[in-house]
């Protein structure tokens, strides 16, 4: 009763996708009647994130839920927290092996490279031979891994097919337009989240390629869901962030209260969301999906 859990992410303040995580952890906190906190480095600087994990450990919570977006940077502080007697669950990024190495209880998430690879395989099956990866967060390694995984899944070289789109919607839109203009025979587009997917949708609308070009995206959002419904987007890879935040709290609480613990890691994704069965997704996109 009154256990305290801290979730530490690597996302900058303004990254909208993490909103679902915040909502998931808040809901879990409410339902389990525990205290939960969400922490992140304001600029997304991973070194700052390491300090936040140290800080969280110093504040003596019962458990820490954290992403492991760079093993080198974060393993030290996480291990120290574990050694202090704090239970840790790794979520979202990292791999199950890395989670085991730092001494975490379990891993909940979707390995980025693997997800990209799976998507690439699927696209290859659909006959895609070239693509554009719209990377709106070029400096984050996991974004690059998604593009790399996709290329490897397709069995082609990533080369110049990934663009640094920046985060301004108009710029993303126009950069996509510029790229497609210069490379009109591009088969497919891969976006990495709502930030890049929403303007890309508009871009395709504008140059008339909407529905014509193969379009897949990571992560869901209101407009992505509408795009899937309209047939503009073939699929969205849903890693179900809600679960990544919700489940660790539930697992930790039950572990602390009753000593029970699932025997395995939980893969929250990749789940491919397609035009089938969209109603619930639609209702909660951006909030719980």
């Amino acid at each position: 009763e009154g256990e305290r859990y801290v979730l530490v992410s690597h996302a900058p303040d303004s990254d909208s996708w993490w909103n679902t995580i915040k909502n998931g952890i808040a809901l879990a906190g409410e339902q389990m009647d525990v205290e939960v906190e969400y922490r992140n480095p304001p600029t997304g600087d991973l070194a700052d994130m390491a300090r936040i994990i140290e800080q969280a450990a110093a504040s003596g919570p019962d458990g820490i839920i954290t992403t492991l977006s760079d093993y080198d940077v974060l393993s030290g502080p996480i291990q120290a927290a574990v050694d202090q007697g704090i239970d840790v669950i790794i979520m979202n990024s990292g791999t199950p092996e890395q989670a085991r190495e730092v001494g975490a209880l379990m891993y909940v998430g979707q390995p980025e490279y693997d997800a990209g690879y799976a998507a690439g395989l699927r696209a290859a099956g659909d006959g895609v031979g070239s693509f554009l990866c719209v990377n709106h967060y070029i400096s984050s390694p996991s974004s690059t891994e998604r593009c790399q995984g996709f290329a490897d899944g397709l069995g082609i070289d990533l080369g110049d097919q990934m663009i640094d789109s920046g985060q301004d919607p108009a710029e993303i839109k126009n950069r996509v337009l510029a790229y497609l203009n210069a490379n009109p025979d591009t088969d497919a587009i891969l976006t990495l989240g709502p930030t890049s997917a929403d303007p890309t949708l508009l871009a395709l609308d504008e140059n008339g390629m909407a529905g014509d070009i193969y379009f897949g995206t990571f992560d869901l959002g209101e407009q992505i869901v509408e795009g899937i419904k309209a047939g503009t987007i073939q699929w969205g890879i849903d890693q179900q962030p809600f679960l990544q935040a919700y489940l660790p709290v539930v697992v930790l609480t039950n572990y602390h209260r009753y000593g029970v613990l699932p025997g395995n890691n939980i893969n929250s994704g990749p789940g491919f969301v397609t035009a089938d069965g969209l109603t619930l997704v639609e209702e909660f996109a951006g909030e719980y999906r």
């Binding site: 303004s14 909103n19 985060q167 301004d168 108009a170 126009n174 203009n181 909407a210 209101e222 407009q223």
Partner: protein
């Protein structure tokens, strides 16, 4: 050698200077040279990439227009001797404000827009008021506002809506009388006619087959043109324009001469905030959503465009036309690199180098004009 007129005209101590050179030497010269250079460069390297097709044109035109909207505000403010680092945060804040008011609170969109304009210009006025009253450098004061506004932009929607992206604005704006002023397109008829006449390409596949590839001029571009014209006339043709120069050139001297320096500066802060709000409103209307991360680093981009356009960072000198050319250069380079297929992360390197070269050229031109030492 004249004996009665000691100075300037016919002064034997001034070496001769050609007329042509005097005619050429104007504040915008740097911007003009830059524009010519940039276009030449891309005409040579990216002519066949579609950069100069109608769609390509629209593409970098829109991006440049975006920069121009905030550059006009930043330009006038910089000439008035101050600058505003909170432009980017203001863009995020304004967009969020429209979204929260219009979608969450369900106000009619026109009202949400009007309230946001009033609120944001007031905030701009507040930072101006603090700068003017405390005599602190605007760098510091607006840096504080950069953080404060961004903080609220992230915090408020999270608190109210449990989201950091608020969508659904397009639906809410349906049928609104004010919204099309920011998000619509004009001259649709003209382009359809051009398309039918075969003067511009039409879509050959997809949902819009047969329609012209460019179906209108976005209001964003119209706003940019309007603001440029307004800014240019205000600065060069009105009494207030003279005050702007005076306030930035030497606030103390201007004050002693009866120029209401404080009022001028505060008004320019408000105008900058106004421009940022126009930017945000156009964006929100076009994309139908507001996000907490909108406008990041836009303050630097505005300042860069203005400086490329020949304005003096310390105030008292510059031109709106120059700033607009700066925005054009910025937009063309940014998009052109994509058309030319240059590795996109090198864009930053190019930008830095262009900025340096532009500012060195401009300094040289300015010294010729003003006799600065």
């Amino acid at each position: 050698m004249s004996t009665s007129t000691p100075s300037a005209a016919g002064d034997e101590r001034i070496k001769e200077r050609s007329r042509l050179r005097n005619a050429l030497v104007r504040p915008e010269l740097g911007g003009i040279c830059g524009t010519v250079l940039v276009f030449t460069f891309f005409l040579l390297t990216a002519a066949d990439s579609g950069m100069f097709s109608p769609t390509g044109f629209l593409n970098w035109g829109t991006v440049s227009a975006q920069f121009a909207i905030i550059a006009v505000g930043a330009c006038l403010l910089m000439i008035a001797g101050e600058f505003d680092l909170s432009v980017g945060s203001m863009i995020g804040f304004a967009g969020m404000s429209i979204a929260i008011l219009g979608v969450t609170f369900g106000l009619p969109i026109w009202l949400a827009i009007v309230i946001t304009f009033v609120l944001c210009t007031l905030i701009g006025g507040l930072s101006g008021y603090i700068v003017v009253k405390t005599g602190l450098p605007s760098f510091i004061v607006t840096l504080a506002f950069l953080f404060i506004l961004r903080g609220f932009t992230i915090f408020l929607p999270q608190l109210i809506e449990r989201k950091t992206i608020i969508g659904g604005i397009s639906d809410a704006a349906e049928g609104d009388w004010l919204a099309p002023l920011f998000g619509g397109k004009v001259l649709n008829g003209l382009f359809v006619w051009l398309g039918d006449a075969g003067l511009i390409e039409t879509f050959s596949r997809g949902s819009r087959q047969g329609q012209p590839v460019v179906d209108g001029v976005p209001m964003l571009v119209i706003w940019a043109l309007l603001l440029i014209i307004f800014g240019h006339i205000l600065l060069t043709r009105t009494r207030f324009g003279n005050w702007i120069f005076a306030a930035g050139g030497d606030a103390e001297a201007a004050r002693n001469s009866g120029v209401p320096v404080d009022r001028v500066k505060i008004l320019m802060f408000m105008f900058t905030a106004f421009c940022a709000t126009v930017f945000a409103t156009c964006q929100v209307m076009e994309f139908g959503s507001a996000g907490a991360d909108r406008g990041l680093l836009k303050e630097f981009e505005a300042i860069i465009a203005v400086v490329i356009g020949g304005a003096l960072l310390t105030g008292g000198y510059g031109s709106v036309i120059g700033a607009a050319l700066g925005a054009l250069i910025f937009g063309v380079v940014q998009q052109g690199l994509f058309f030319a297929g240059v590795e996109s992360s090198l864009f930053r390197v190019f930008l830095g180098v262009i900025l340096l070269m532009a500012v060195i050229l401009n300094t040289y031109i300015r010294r010729l004009i003003t006799g600065e030492k």
